[in-house]
Amino acid sequence: MKKSYLLIATGIFGMLLLFAGINHRPNLPYGMTNGTPEIKSITSLAFGPTGVLFIGDSQNATVIAIDTKDVKVVKTAKAFDLKNVDVKIADALGTTKENISINDIAVNPISKQLYIAVKSADGTPVLLVLTADNEFKTVSLKDINFSSVALNNAPAEDAKDRRGRPLRISSISDLGYADGKLLVSGLSNKEFSSSFRSIKFPFTGKQDDESTLEMYHASHGRYETTSPVRTFSTTTISGKKYVVASYTCTPLVLFAMDDLKPGITAKGRTIAEMGNQNTPADMIWLKSNGQQFLVMANDNRPAAKVSYQDIEKFEGSLTEKVATTAGVNFTALPYQKVLQLDKLDDNRAVIVQRKANGEVDLWTSDGKNI
């Protein structure tokens, strides 16, 4: 009898040892693995849940989610103010301002630190963080927790376009995160087409969790294009979630997120046409005097804002002929050549702007001036 107990105990120990051997890795958040992701370019940034930063790598047609572990809560964000930010970044990288470009910026909504994607003239990507003390630090991309999703290699039929083939993205124009989904808009360097992808996060690689869509919109109800989306944001109107997309051919279009389903051609409602060369390169929602505004930045023209109420009220689509910019009213802001824009908090934006004298400054709005 004693011998059988001993045998059972030995067996249990053996099993425990076996499982201890298999399950030796700590559980990483969001299904991530630890290692060094292959990142060839950093062209877009967007924050997801709890310090997760999505990095759009256009050259690899991949989005990498990294755990920044930058989760120390800062309730009142200090304003960023750094003149000649391009010169200062170039100094920190040991080169001249002509040899770098600022590809994107993203404020960590938890820590309020500013993440900056920089590319050197030879194409080397760099991810920096600007602390509240205006100090640049390197964000290491070695031995980190990450997961990734390849955009051109659709996992299954459902994740292909409605004619059943993978989309070809050569550049990621924008990234966003809403309702547990990563949203990606892409451009092709060859065909003129719209590709918008919705991917459940954490990434599962399953076909049901990814959908690729073609988004059509018409001008004045007549000429329809599947033009690429340049930038987008999300909002809720009357309890329904929407994507507000800005197209390379100028219209501002609303898509109901419920309509973004695989295999269905999504048709958008054009709510405004922007002026000449005024396709926004960035857009964010800000509050001012109790009202919400969609603030749009452009590197050629003044930044502009549209009232949420105007968008909400605009029931129809642009169907009538108009002489100037049409649809919802937008107000031009006294800020030209805004190169980058992100939201610091509900009321303030962080802005990278090329000034009239050619200098590039980083500054923060005061909650009233935008």
């Binding site: 920190a92 990288l93 080169t95 590809n103 194409g123 599947t226 390379t248």
Partner: protein
């Protein structure tokens, strides 16, 4: 005589062993002690990716935290971001991006300069060339959407529009004619750039199109200029300015049609090329990759494709043609110069083309005879 000869051989052998030992000892010493006292550059793939600092010029014991590198011209002495490591008896500084040719760098220990080094321009590197501009034709539709620029080397990116301009007949530069997309649309090799003419001006019935018309005016002559100041990723400029002169013709608002293709059939048992005149000016890159040839068994033929004059597609088979029927399988994503593809127009007139074609491929059969 034989004895003396034997002694000589023995003496020579002794000397050989002595000199060999001395040689190996010196070689080992050289390998072990790379500290020549000079600051040197570390190269990878023709780029200076690090600075090697001999330990003999830094204090002992070594404190990596006390060393910094800065651009010599940077009077504030901003510490460059990067990592210091000890390697083979040297202190190696690896900056985040390659060091810039032509710049001077200073190494500091405890804020005191201990040496400096200049990064030379690469020797023996050939200057980059602009191999081709597509489309090749000298008459282009007024609603032309894009140009491709094909270089011999990877170029500096991010400020491409500073180097490309379109001049009218008077030689005046047309402002804001191209869409400033960031990131730019480079192909995966980093050698082919796509630049779009502002689609907001091209799409029919948009405010911009109605107010200003197409960016290109029918029957007008233009000159596309690429500046010789554009540098490759090593900082070497193009050798000259490049020009392309063309005349704008009537807008192309007709979908390309494969029924109008003229096929020049090769003879059986030869390696003659299959030549197709696609009867429309097409997108060079898409035309090159959108057509495949299948044999009677449905197997794709191997071979080389050549596209000339925007409309002539030639296929050089790897094996001789057989006397049988072949099939051309054409991807419907193939676009003409105004981005009309085989399924739809760039801007589909909903009153005329009510149903969108939904085909993935179109096919066309031809017969090869003796």
């Amino acid at each position: 005589m034989a004895k003396i000869y034997k002694i000589n051989i023995l003496q020579s052998a002794k000397l050989y062993v002595k000199y060999s030992l001395a040689f190996f000892l010196m070689a080992i010493l050289c390998c072990c002690n790379q500290d020549s006292g000079n600051i040197t550059l570390v190269y990878h793939d023709h780029s200076a990716v690090g600075i090697s600092i001999p330990k003999s010029i830094v204090s002992s014991p070594l404190d990596l935290g006390s060393i910094k590198v800065s651009r010599s011209i940077d009077k504030s002495g901003t510490a460059m971001l990067g990592e210091f490591v000890e390697e083979k008896g040297q202190v190696i500084f690896r900056p985040l991006i390659p060091l810039t040719p032509g710049l001077l760098y200073t190494i500091y220990e405890n804020e005191k300069p201990i040496g400096e080094i200049e990064v030379p321009f690469p020797k023996g590197e050939k200057a980059p060339l602009l191999d081709a501009i597509y489309p090749e034709s000298d008459t282009l539709p007024a609603n032309l959407l894009k140009f491709y620029f094909q270089f011999s080397k990877q170029m500096q990116t991010g400020k491409s529009l500073d180097h490309v301009s379109l001049l009218d007949e008077r030689g005046d530069t047309l402002n804001h004619i191209f869409l400033n997309l960031q990131p730019e649309l480079w192909d995966s090799t980093g050698k082919i750039l796509t630049i779009w003419i502002d689609p907001g001006r091209i799409k029919r019935d948009l405010v911009l199109n109605k107010k200003y018309g197409n960016p290109l005016v029918q029957n007008s002559k233009y000159q596309l200029v690429v500046s010789g100041k554009w540098k490759d990723r090593f900082g070497i400029s193009l050798t000259k300015n490049y020009h392309k002169v063309f005349v704008a013709t009537s807008p192309d608002i007709v979908m390309p049609n494969i029924d109008s293709w003229q096929i020049k059939r090769p003879k059986a048992n030869t390696l003659e090329p299959l030549t197709i005149d696609v009867n429309d000016k097409m997108d060079h890159l898409l035309l090159k990759e959108s057509i495949i040839v299948l044999n009677e068994l449905g197997v794709q033929l191997e071979g080389r494709v050549e596209v000339t004059k925007d409309r002539c597609w030639k296929f050089y088979p790897a094996k001789t043609w057989q006397s049988e029927h072949y099939q051309l399988k054409v991807d419907t994503r193939l676009e003409d110069l105004a981005a009309n593809n085989l399924n739809r127009l760039f801007d589909r007139d909903l009153t005329k083309q009510k149903n969108l074609n939904n085909l993935m491929y179109l096919t066309k059969t031809f017969e090869v005879k003796d």
